[in-house]
Structures are given as structure tokens and as C-alpha cells.
């Protein structure tokens, strides 16, 4: 199995006790209310937080105690974390720079073109829109050649129009890398998911396809 | 460069600054560090605080034998004279009325503020007390008591004179201001905080202040009135008893000074004819040749 997650961590209101597996190149969703433990789960996977017990295996290797920067797991938060003192291009060069590599400008140009941000390479982050910033953050993450890309409610701060326009962009990721995407919005799951887990008060209540989730829980979502 | 350290009476600041310039010109390898303070304080910094020091110059030569002999000094040169005056400025209250005969009446007025230095730290301070009690004899009026009535100074008339006792923490009226040394009153005088200050004549001249000259019987300037002056004693908080006498400055090199050779050079310079000339130029009355007192 590509990623095996199995750990427990005591939180203030309940114990987070999670176990699931993700396949290579899968687009995997973690679905749940706010406060269900979704963000903590991915922070443990990235190494930002430590579990109380349990282990994480990536590609068969135990990464539970590996420092964050050696895991090759990229993390995108809901507020796009661009470095404000670098322009877009410098942000994109960052993954090369920290590894002591020369930035591959050819590759950067190509991927920027592909994801529609080649026009704004010289802009500083405060001058671009929220949707553009989120694209740049994801492209930057891809340039770090991650084994796994984690998106923590990546569309949450964006308006409906931008959100909708980013869906094809995210679909494009499927071929490139394995993705874990956190959300509380069923539309994102419908559009993008291979599989989804449903998290409630720290426990995994469901694993499977989105259609099965809908039929099993009988959620009432409004529709147009 | 050698740092020659000189502790000296505040009233010597101006002539010593001038002497320092000349001396450093003659001896470029020496850097003179002048530290002015009340004379008692200057000596105490050497004998009590054991601060490194090369030369001490005191506004009362007799303090040196009394406090520094034999451990810290073995001689003193009496090298300058002075007298006590009452300084004021144009904006002092009653400045156009005050004279030799009514000054004590004016100081008594409730809207007049005046100052003198702390007798425990500065000879100018106990000399002011001496002058005020000598004024009792001279004008035949209870001047001391009337001016310092609300203070915690005590005055006792004994058979052969007057004894003034200064307590450790001196308290006075609201319109009498006290500072650790007499020159520190100058800022208060200039700012108009006080109207009058007891200072040495040299200081008054150096700072171009107006002043009332006091009668020689009380201003402690004249050898002639030596016996009259000696009727007054001041007992300081540290127990030392000081007899009234003419104002004579003394200078000595400190035994165990960090720079004995340079200390001797400075002492010799101050008591030389050249030194006397510098003193005179800066309104300080020199004694030339100086008088040597050994233990």
C-alpha cells in the first residue's frame, strides 16, 4: 500500500483515532464537519504534529519520526501560504533552493503555462487574487516533487466563481501525484474524488466512494 | 596615555579646567581626569570608598591632615584663598535693594528662596553656617536662628563660642534649597528656582554673577579675623568637629596613588608661579609661595 495511516492522539474534546490507506495516484478525500479532526489528521501525516501512538508508512517506509522536510509530503492550507517577500517566480524556485539545487527554469515555465499562471510570475503575492495564489501554492508544491500532496480545505476561502473555475485545475492533479483533499463541501468530493472517508468526532465513520457515502448517510444537501 | 585622576572641590572646577589645558599641553602623554565634588566627599571617596585617585585638592586645607594623615597623605600645600559671598541674579527678588547691611533681612522674607551646600559634604556648606552665626555677633542680632528656625540644625552657645550640630539628614524650610556641593546651586539660581545662593567669591566671578560682599568679620577671608572666626565650631554628622578659620585651599598627592610621578607633576604645577597665575586669571586668589604643612 502506498500510504498507511494508523494512529491515536488525545485532543481536548475527544480522542482522534484514525486508520486508513491511500493508493498511489489516488485522489482521496477526508470529509467531515469543522472540528472533526480532519486538519489534525493531515498535520500528523505531514509531521507538523506528533501522534500519541501508532505509525505512518509511506511507500512501505516508516516515516512516523522523520522530520517534516524529509517526508516529501507537500501541504497546502486554506489561506494560500505564499512567501510575501518573494515574487511568484521566487516562490516557485523555493523548493529547489532549499535543497541546494539550481531551479529548473524550463520546468517551471512549462508547469506555469500548464496551470495558467505564466502571466503573473513577476508579481508579488499581495498583488494577485486568491484563486491565483492558491494555484501558485499548488504548482510550487508540485515542483517540490512530493510523494503526496495534501490540500487542507483549499477552496474554502475562495468565492463560488473561483472555486468552480479551480475544479478542472484540481482534476489535472490526478495524473501527477497522490492527493489527500480535506473538505466539508460535498460538491468538491463529487467532482474530484476517487475515494472518501467520513470523519466524525475523531473516528472514521465511512470509507468508500462518494455515491456510497450519499446512500449510506442520506445527507440532505440543497441542489440548484 | 596616563589617566591622572584628580578629585577636587567643586569651586576649583573653572581654574582647574584651565590648568588642565595648559598642563596637558606641557605633558601630552598625560590625560587629566578631573572629578569635582564637595571637598569632604572628595576625600571620602579616597579614604572610605578606596577609589583610585592621584591628587586631592580641598577647599579647606585642614581637612587633609584631619582626615587623610597619615595613611593617605603626608603633606599638604596651602595654595589658594577665597571668601564667602551671597550670589544673586538680576531677576532675584529684591535684587535692587540688597546690600551688605540688609541681606539677612531679605533672606528672611517668606517669598525669597535661597540655598547653600550640604555641610556634611562640602566646606562651603559648613562655612555658610559659620558665617551666619558669626553674623549674630557682628550685627548683634539672632540671625542664625531666624534664618534657619525650621531646620533640624541645632545651635548651642557655650562659654567660649558657638557650636552648630549638623544631623545626618538635614531638613530645612521649603524656601531653603540644599545641594551636595555649592556650584550645584548655580543651575537653580539661573533658572530662577532660588533667588540667592552662598558661594565662594571666585565662583561668583567665574560665572559672572552679581553678589553681596559680606563684611570681612564674617566672610572667612581674612587672617586678621582668625581669632574671631574661631569662636564658631561645626560638628558634622560623622562626628568631626570643625573650627572656624580663614578659607584656605589645600592640595596633596595621595599615598599609594596609581600614578605617583604624574601626581607630583600636577601638584608642582598648581603650586608653581605659573599655576598661581592661572588661578588668578580665573578669579581664584592664589597663595604664592604656598605654605607646606607636613605631618
Amino acid at each position: 500500500m502506498f500510504l498507511e495511516v494508523n494512529f491515536k492522539k488525545k485532543l481536548s474534546k475527544f480522542e482522534l483515532s484514525v486508520s486508513f490507506e491511500v493508493e498511489e495516484k489516488e485522489y482521496f478525500f477526508i470529509f467531515g464537519r469543522s472540528g472533526a479532526g480532519k486538519s489534525m489528521t493531515v498535520k500528523i501525516i505531514t509531521g507538523i504534529e506528533k501522534p500519541d501512538k501508532g505509525r505512518i508508512y509511506l511507500n512501505g517506509k516508516d516515516i512516523t519520526n522523520l522530520p517534516i522536510e524529509e517526508r516529501r509530503i507537500a501541504y497546502i492550507s486554506q489561506t494560500p501560504s505564499l512567501f510575501p517577500h518573494m515574487n511568484v517566480l521566487e516562490n516557485l524556485c523555493f523548493p529547489f533552493k532549499v535543497r541546494g539545487l539550481k531551479p529548473k527554469l524550463r520546468e517551471i515555465e512549462e508547469i506555469s503555462q500548464h496551470f495558467g499562471i505564466s502571466e503573473i510570475l513577476q508579481e508579488i503575492p499581495s498583488k494577485i487574487s486568491g484563486g491565483e495564489a492558491q494555484r501558485v501554492a499548488i504548482v510550487r508544491a508540485l515542483l517540490s516533487k512530493p510523494h503526496l500532496l495534501i490540500l487542507d480545505e483549499p477552496l474554502n476561502q475562495l468565492d463560488f466563481f473561483t472555486k468552480t473555475s479551480l475544479i478542472p485545475f484540481l482534476k489535472d492533479l490526478k495524473e501527477k501525484t497522490t492527493v489527500i483533499h480535506i473538505t466539508h463541501d460535498p460538491f468538491e468530493i463529487k467532482e474530484l474524488s476517487d475515494r472518501v472517508i467520513f470523519l466524525e468526532r475523531g473516528k472514521v465513520k465511512f470509507v468508500g466512494s462518494f455515491q456510497n457515502l450519499l446512500s449510506e448517510f442520506n445527507f440532505s444537501f440543497p441542489s440548484l | 596615555k596616563v589617566n591622572l585622576i584628580v578629585f577636587h572641590a567643586g569651586s576649583l572646577t573653572v581654574p582647574f579646567e584651565a590648568a588642565k589645558k595648559e598642563f596637558e599641553r606641557l605633558h601630552p602623554e598625560i590625560d587629566v581626569r578631573l572629578e569635582p565634588s564637595g571637598s569632604v566627599q572628595a576625600i571620602r571617596k579616597v579614604i572610605d570608598l578606596k577609589k583610585p585617585c592621584d591628587v586631592v585638592a580641598s577647599a579647606d586645607y585642614s581637612l587633609i591632615p584631619k582626615l587623610m594623615f597619615p595613611k593617605f597623605s603626608n603633606h599638604v600645600y596651602a595654595f589658594a584663598r577665597n571668601e564667602l559671598v551671597l550670589c544673586y541674579t538680576n531677576s532675584s527678588k529684591y535684587s535692587n535693594e540688597i546690600n551688605e547691611n540688609n541681606w539677612y533681612e531679605i533672606l528672611k522674607k517668606s517669598n525669597v528662596k535661597w540655598g547653600f551646600s550640604n555641610p556634611n559634604l562640602d566646606p562651603c556648606g559648613y562655612r555658610t553656617l559659620m558665617a551666619l552665626s558669626l553674623a549674630d555677633f557682628y550685627y548683634k542680632k539672632p540671625i542664625f536662628e531666624s534664618l534657619l528656625s525650621n531646620s533640624n540644625l541645632s545651635l548651642a552657645r557655650e562659654q567660649d563660642g558657638i557650636l552648630i550640630t549638623v544631623p545626618n539628614s538635614l531638613k530645612t524650610n521649603h524656601h531653603i534649597f540644599i545641594r551636595p556641593k555649592a556650584v550645584a546651586l548655580l543651575g537653580l539660581l539661573e533658572s530662577g528656582t532660588i533667588d540667592y545662593a552662598f558661594e565662594y567669591k571666585s565662583v561668583a566671578l567665574q560665572h559672572k554673577l552679581k553678589f553681596v560682599e559680606l563684611p570681612p568679620e564674617i566672610n572667612l577671608s581674612s587672617i586678621k579675623f582668625k581669632d574671631f572666626y574661631s569662636k564658631v565650631y561645626v560638628k558634622l554628622a560623622n562626628g568631626k568637629l570643625i573650627k572656624g578659620k580663614p578659607i584656605v585651599y589645600g592640595i596633596t598627592t595621595v599615598l599609594g596613588a596609581p600614578h605617583p610621578k604624574e601626581a607630583k607633576l600636577w601638584e608642582d604645577f598648581i603650586i608653581s608661579g605659573k599655576g598661581a597665575e592661572i588661578l588668578r586669571r580665573n578669579y581664584q586668589e592664589p597663595m604664592y609661595p604656598p605654605i607646606l604643612i607636613k605631618k
Binding site: K43, T46, G47, I48, P67, I68, E69, R71, R72, I73, A74, Y75, I76, S77, T79, S81, F83, P84, H85, F94, P95, K97, V98, R99, A137, R140, A141, S144, P146 | N3, G10, T13, R33, E35, P36, K181, V183, A184, L186, G187, L189, E190, S191, H207
Partner: protein
């Protein structure tokens, strides 16, 4: 409606008073200055020597303060243990200790009788009446500003930014060098300038530890004590003017 304008009136009156309280004394000093004696001060070698000593001391003390204060601020900003607030507050201590006590404290600690003093004096470093003494005292009274300001800077860097950088392959050192430090430079600078100004202003502790070489506050006090206002006011005005320059630097820093 009446109550409202009453509130406004009261608030504005007190604000104006407050403003006058701070600005009036300074303007009075600068405008009541006698030009002639000011020019004389500008020609006074001792004043320039004292200014030089002061700026030398304050510069060295600020460098020392940054060297000691910035790392501690970084460690504090990255720590989440219980005693953290306590340690943070510790660096406010030098502000609340009376300046004369600071002087006495350092004289006790560094005189040649104490262990540390003896050790250092064997290395030829003594503190009483030396530039070392000036620097140590200045640094002690001013380091709080550097620690507090750097800490504010380091904490202003979003944690998600730091995490993101780590997941992109940056070690803690790289994160510090490429993200946290560059983003905190304005804060560190502000702290350094405030510390410099505080160092320049110190007098109480220096009177005790290092009367010589004379710094400008000590010269000012000495002139006041021995010659009165006419000699000390021009120096005060000069130094106040220089302080105003420092102050405008603080203001013009991006922050």
C-alpha cells in the same frame, strides 16, 4: 446627543493636554536656546568626545544586544512550554530595576573581587571607568527592547507559512534564514534603534560604573552641577535634537 459631544470634548481635551505634556517641554528647550552658547557647544571638544564615546558605547551595546537578544527571541518564538511567558517576562526585568541599582549590581558583579571580575581582569578586561563597563551597562538596560521587538517579529510570521516551507523541504535553519529572519528584519531594526536610543539615554548606572570615559549624559549632568544651566542646556538641546533624529528613523522604518 449632549452626552455624546461631552464625551468627545473630554477625550479631546485630555488628548490635547497629553500631547502638550510630551511636546511642549521639548519645543521649549529647542526654541529658548541661546544661539551663541549653542555654537560654542558645537565647538567644544569635550562635548564631541563625549558624543563619540556615547555613540561608540551605544553602537557596541546594540551589536551585543542583537547578538544576545535575537537568538533568545527566536528560541522563545518557537517554544510552547509552560514557563515560556515567564522567560519572556524575564527580559522585561532590566526595565523595572532602578538605574542606580543596575550600576551597583554591575559594580558588585564585575569588580575585581568577584569571581567573574577576577577572571576577566586576567584577560585584561576591567569594567570600572572603561568602555567595557559602558557597553555592558548600556546593553543590560536596553536589551529588553531588542528581545521584545524581535519576538514580536518572529511571532508575526504565520505558522502555516513556516509549516509550508518545511513541507517544501526546508530545514529549521533554512526556514529561519529564508523566511522568518527576512520577514522580521523591520521588527529587529526597530528594536535595535530603540535599544540604541535607550543606551544613549542611560546615566544613573553609568554614574556608578563608568564615570569615565565621559558619556554625554554624564557630561551634561556634570556641566549642570558645576556650571549650571547655561552650560548644560545647549548640550541637552543638541542631544535632544539627535534623539529626535533617531526617533524619526524609528518612525520611518517599515513596520
Amino acid at each position: 446627543m449632549r452626552k455624546r459631544s461631552y464625551f468627545k470634548f473630554l477625550i479631546l481635551t485630555f488628548s490635547t493636554l497629553s500631547f502638550l505634556f510630551v511636546i511642549l517641554p521639548i519645543l521649549h528647550l529647542l526654541f529658548s536656546l541661546n544661539t551663541e552658547s549653542f555654537l560654542k557647544t558645537l565647538k567644544d571638544r569635550e562635548v564631541w568626545n563625549a558624543l563619540f564615546t556615547t555613540f561608540e558605547g551605544a553602537t557596541l551595546s546594540t551589536i551585543l544586544g542583537v547578538t544576545l537578544g535575537v537568538p533568545v527571541a527566536y528560541v522563545l518564538s518557537q517554544s510552547y512550554f509552560k514557563g515560556r511567558k515567564f522567560l519572556e517576562g524575564l527580559f522585561d526585568l532590566p526595565i523595572v530595576i532602578p538605574h542606580a541599582a543596575v550600576g551597583i549590581i554591575f559594580l558588585e558583579l564585575l569588580n575585581s573581587k568577584s569571581l567573574l571580575g577576577e577572571l576577566l581582569s586576567k584577560l585584561g578586561i576591567t569594567f570600572v571607568d572603561t568602555i567595557y563597563g559602558i557597553v555592558v551597562v548600556m546593553c543590560f538596560v536596553s536589551i529588553s527592547y531588542i528581545v521584545a521587538s524581535s519576538l514580536a517579529g518572529f511571532e508575526s510570521v504565520n505558522r502555516e507559512l513556516i509549516w509550508t516551507a518545511r513541507t517544501l523541504g526546508a530545514s529549521p535553519f533554512k526556514v529561519f534564514r529564508l523566511i522568518i529572519f527576512p520577514l522580521s528584519i523591520p521588527f529587529i531594526l526597530r528594536g535595535a534603534v530603540l535599544a540604541f536610543a535607550r543606551a544613549v539615554s542611560e546615566m544613573g548606572a553609568l554614574l556608578i560604573v563608568a564615570y569615565y570615559p565621559k558619556t554625554i549624559p554624564i557630561l551634561m549632568y556634570e556641566r549642570f552641577e558645576n556650571y549650571g544651566l547655561s552650560s548644560s542646556t545647549p548640550i541637552a538641546a543638541l542631544v535632544t535634537f539627535l534623539s529626535l533624529v533617531i526617533f524619526s528613523i524609528v518612525l520611518s522604518l517599515p513596520y
